[in-house]
């Protein structure tokens, strides 16, 4: 799980071009939107694409996406659950 979260943080930084941000700067449980990283709605679309490209997971329901993209922790848990399934 820790390895997955680290990888996810690296992928988020690269995909969103978060200059001057390092994986260790991102708290596992910090909100990705609003506070925390301060991402916006376009970023959420990019994170959906990230999940599809890197983990072959397509999030169809936007309401589900809101829950999944709350934090790195929730994203990692979602990926893990899909991989187990």
């Amino acid at each position: 799980m820790e390895a997955l979260k680290l990888k996810l943080k690296q992928q988020i930084i690269e995909a969103l071009n978060l200059q001057d941000t390092k994986p260790e700067d991102i708290d596992d449980n910090a909100p990705l939107f609003g506070e925390g990283l301060g991402l916006d709605s376009i970023d959420s679309l990019e994170l959906m694409v990230l999940l599809e490209r890197n983990y072959q997971i397509k999030v169809e329901d936007p309401r589900e996406g809101r829950k999944i993209l709350q934090s790195v922790q929730t994203m990692a848990e979602f990926i893990k659950s899909k991989q187990v399934a």
Partner: protein, 338 residues
């Protein structure tokens, strides 16, 4: 078009040290390719970090040049934002097309698509300045900037605006350089800007840049008196058009002090420039393409360079002549207001 259009402020990002506002023409030394890139300024003083991280190069160039122009003009919200671009954000277009291929038309990232649209820069300027006025982008290859100028003059003439932010932006990428090299846009042999105008072969050096102007109906130091565009004219038609253009402003060729020429070293179209120089025999000639390269909206850098030359040199009347690969020809007339 005879409406008075004064130039209140301007800014340019180019292969020259132009962003600071000065202009000491410097011929670059090219390595490997006939391609020159702009000297990018520090964008952080203009664009919030959260927006900056998402923008591609030409968007940053265009937005920053526009904002610097407004700062230089002590203006905030213009009455219209009008731009021209021949290619828009090539970097984003290429990224999006590559993604389509790489991911078999699935999992496409929205950002490059959004930003690849030609009017992205205009939208960003409007958003950042909270400007809800007239907003238009012209995409007409070598006439893109020129149509933005014409539209600006019409907006001022009709009283729709008293200040118009007008500009142009284009970038060059390795991929676009390659594509255009196949249709003879660039010289096959490595050619230095210092040798460009002596070249006897076809093609030119690729360039890029962003330049913005604040046009106003209120009198200022320099007036853009008129613009004339010709599409695929013959040599005789260009000569006749220049004569008519000057006489419509009560001028003869001998009264022009400064000719700012878009001669680009392409031997296939040199005759047009030769003819214009013969018709304006007493003018000091400044060739701007060795300093910015050739691109669809290089005419915007030409206008910027003409203003800088007029500021530094006692020229009362200046003509800018540019043509884009022999197809789109433009004359602009500048007059110093005394």
């Amino acid at each position: 078009m005879k409406a008075k259009c004064y130039i209140k402020g301007y800014a340019a990002i180019s292969p020259q040290e132009s962003f600071s506002g000065g202009f000491a023409p410097h011929l670059l030394t090219l390595e490997g390719k006939n391609m020159m890139h702009v000297k990018e300024p520090d964008y952080s003083g203009f664009i919030p970090p959260n927006s900056l991280r998402r923008m591609s190069r030409v968007l940053k160039m265009g937005l920053t040049a526009a904002l610097q122009c407004l700062r230089n003009s002590n203006a905030k919200i213009p009455g219209a934002i009008i731009t021209g671009t021949g290619r828009g954000s090539l970097q984003d277009t290429e990224k999006f097309l590559h993604n389509i291929r790489e991911y078999s038309e699935t999992a496409l990232n929205p950002t490059p698509f959004i930003q690849s649209t030609y009017n992205s820069v205009n939208g960003l300027i409007a958003l950042q300045q909270q400007c809800t006025e007239y907003n238009n982008t012209f995409v007409h290859r070598g006439f893109s900037f020129e149509h933005a100028v014409l539209d600006s003059m019409m907006q001022l003439a009709e009283g729709n605006a008293t200040e118009v932010l007008a500009g142009a932006f284009d970038e060059i990428t390795d991929e676009h350089f390659y594509i255009k090299s196949r249709i003879g846009y660039w010289k096959k042999e490595l050619t230095q800007p210092a040798e460009l105008l002596e070249s006897a072969t076809g093609g030119s050096i690729a360039g890029e840049g962003a330049a913005f102007f604040l046009f106003t109906s209120q009198p200022s130091d320099i007036c853009l008196e008129g613009i004339k565009m010709l599409y695929k004219p013959s040599e005789e038609e260009v000569q006749q058009a220049l004569q008519n253009f000057l006489s419509s402003h009560d001028l003869a060729g001998e009264e022009i002090d400064l000719l700012v020429s878009g001669r680009n070293g392409d031997a296939r179209y040199a005759q047009f420039y030769d003819n214009v120089e013969r018709q304006i025999p007493d003018a000091k000639v400044f060739y701007f393409k060795p300093y910015c390269g050739e691109y669809d909206t290089a005419g915007a850098f030409g206008l910027w360079a003409a203003i800088k030359e007029m500021e530094q040199w006692p020229a009362n009347n200046a003509v800018i002549y540019n043509n884009f690969y022999g197809e789109q020809h433009t004359f602009m007339l500048l007059r110093k207001v005394v």
